[in-house]
């Protein structure tokens, strides 16, 4: 039982991080129907920006998180303007291949500047841990989960209560009709990239703190897993991405905890195959139309 609860705690922490990344995938897909495979690398950049902010800027957790989010938001918007916008009216496969190109570009440019070696993340949170029976909850996990929850509440607020959020939903449902309301599609897409990328940046910092190590290729696997999470939740659906992230995170820790941690990645991708066979539209996805 304790082992079970411990895995739930670990799974929720990891899952919150996946959920933050999955949100960016799903929002971007919702609005321009593109799987942004460079998204995992934006998350990697977020981790490095956070690393620099803490190590060289001597910042605490929250300022570093904020700096990483803002930097990633800007990078996300630039990627969209430079790489995706010129392809807006071309085939989806062209945009998808470009996304893979952007992903490789970010990985190896980063490697050029910072080297390929793994760095250990500076300690920015206390090592304190809480013991509930034999279940251990450490401070990092609490920060991760609370940060993720706060960001998701913020996102719900933006999407449902602000004008920008309503514009984002309108564009994702019907870009032409949105234009007839006076909504500027280009700037709405930029906002979407900014928010999605900022969330990836936050996830990058959180993962750096959690796993204590970062490197330029760290975005590949979590990026793909977050993609699986988004697909499981129903790509295009925001609540779906949250549920998907938590599911994938928990699944992974359970496979590691009860089975063999060597199989955890295989389990996630096997799960993707199963979803695609049984319910390709995902848990909350629709067959024809998607939300932001």
């Amino acid at each position: 039982m304790e082992q079970f609860l411990q895995q739930v705690v670990n799974g929720i922490s990891l899952g919150s991080i996946y959920a933050l990344i999955a949100l960016g995938y799903t929002m971007v897909y919702g609005i321009i129907k593109l799987i942004n495979f460079a998204h995992g690398d934006v998350y990697m950049i977020g981790a490095f920006v956070g690393f620099a902010a803490i190590t060289y800027g001597k910042m605490g957790f929250f300022p570093a998180l904020l700096v990483a989010m803002i930097s990633c938001a800007i990078i996300g918007v630039v990627i969209e303007k430079v790489a995706y916008k010129p392809l807006r009216n071309s085939t989806r496969i062209a945009a998808l291949i470009t996304a893979i190109g952007v992903s490789l570009f970010l990985e190896y440019v980063m490697m050029f500047f910072v080297g390929a070696e793994v760095r250990s993340y500076p300690k920015v949170l206390t090592e304190k841990a809480f013991h509930l029976g034999s279940v251990v909850i450490n401070m990092q996990q609490i920060y991760i989960v609370l940060t993720a929850i706060a960001l998701m509440i913020l996102l719900q607020f933006i999407v449902h209560k602000t004008k920008t959020g309503k514009a984002m939903r309108a564009v994702s449902i019907d870009p032409d009709a949105a234009q007839l309301m006076g909504i500027k599609v280009d700037s709405t897409i930029s906002y979407t990239f900014a928010i999605g990328s900022a969330f990836a940046g936050a996830a990058g910092v959180l993962v750096g703190i959690y796993y204590n190590s970062i490197d330029p290729l760290m975005g590949i696997l979590p990026g793909l897993k977050a993609f699986v999470a988004a697909v499981f939740g129903g790509i295009g659906s925001i609540p779906g991405a949250m549920i998907g992230g938590l599911t994938i995170g928990t699944m992974e820790t359970f496979v590691s905890g009860y089975g063999n941690s060597m199989y955890r990645d295989a389990a996630v991708f096997l799960f993707l195959i199963v979803i695609l066979i049984i319910k390709p539209s995902g848990l909350l996805g629709k067959n024809t139309r998607e939300k932001v």
Partner: protein
């Protein structure tokens, strides 16, 4: 108020609109009738800025708007009720109407206009919290018309408002169009239901494969032999 001069539009190599010219004066209902594929929807989409113009000019109150973006045209007072309604189905009725006023900042007047829309379409007030996708076809048509009115348009472009509606509802929608016009909004109406359209229009144009082939007052056209034969099913 709205003037179109020698408008040309291409879809790839297809010449969809060929040198179209038409005028809509302040306070009028002008209708554009024609068969499927004649270019009626293209005309409206080009006026709204959703389609690019290849040649010619679109003037709103004497000012060229030919190369403005769609949102900029909304700001100048052009509002379109698109073909097939195009509500935002996952959003509530209220949110749909609110989006209609997206560019406006005069909160008090928006509230007043919302009340007016609810008064004109009481069913929308009743269903304001429902998602728009759950409305019936007729209710959705009312919703898009209400949504378009929320921008306080100077000219309202209506694309096939009667499409897919029961005859009784069609009559109701047309009487609402007349009311909106009498309340001061200029209207350009595109319809396949020619007899209905001609019965409320001050003037009309007939579009055939991308060209305007006839124009006149609504009554003139309704009496014309050719129109009777081609569009009204008369002998």
């Amino acid at each position: 108020m709205l003037e179109i001069k020698n408008l040309n539009v291409y879809y790839g190599v297809i010449h969809a609109l060929k040198d179209i010219s038409l005028t809509v004066n302040e306070g009028e209902i002008v209708t554009l009738i024609g068969a499927n594929g004649a270019g009626k929807t293209t005309t409206l989409r080009t006026i709204s800025g959703l389609n690019k113009t290849t040649g010619g000019e679109i003037l709103l109150e004497g000012k060229a708007i030919t190369y403005l973006s769609a949102p900029e045209r909304v700001k100048l007072g052009i509002s379109q009720v698109p073909e097939g309604r195009r509500i935002f189905p996952e959003m509530t009725v209220f949110e749909n109407l609110e989006l209609g006023a997206y560019l406006r900042k005069d909160k008090n007047n928006i509230k007043k206009d919302l009340e007016n829309v609810y008064q004109r379409f009481p069913i929308l007030a009743e269903r304001r919290r429902q998602t728009a996708g759950t409305l019936s076809g007729g209710e959705q048509q009312m919703l898009v018309m209400g949504r378009a009115l929320m921008s306080r348009p100077r000219i309202l472009l209506l694309d096939e408002p009667s499409m897919g509606l029961a005859p009784l509802l069609v009559r109701e929608i047309f009487s609402i169009i007349k009311d909106i016009n009498e309340a001061g909004t200029t209207i350009l109406l595109v319809e396949q239901n020619a007899s209905m359209a001609l019965s409320i229009a001050h003037r009309a144009y007939v579009l055939e494969t991308g060209s305007i082939v006839m124009s006149g007052t609504g009554e003139e056209l309704a009496r014309s032999n050719e129109i009777q034969k081609a569009y009204l099913g008369g002998e």
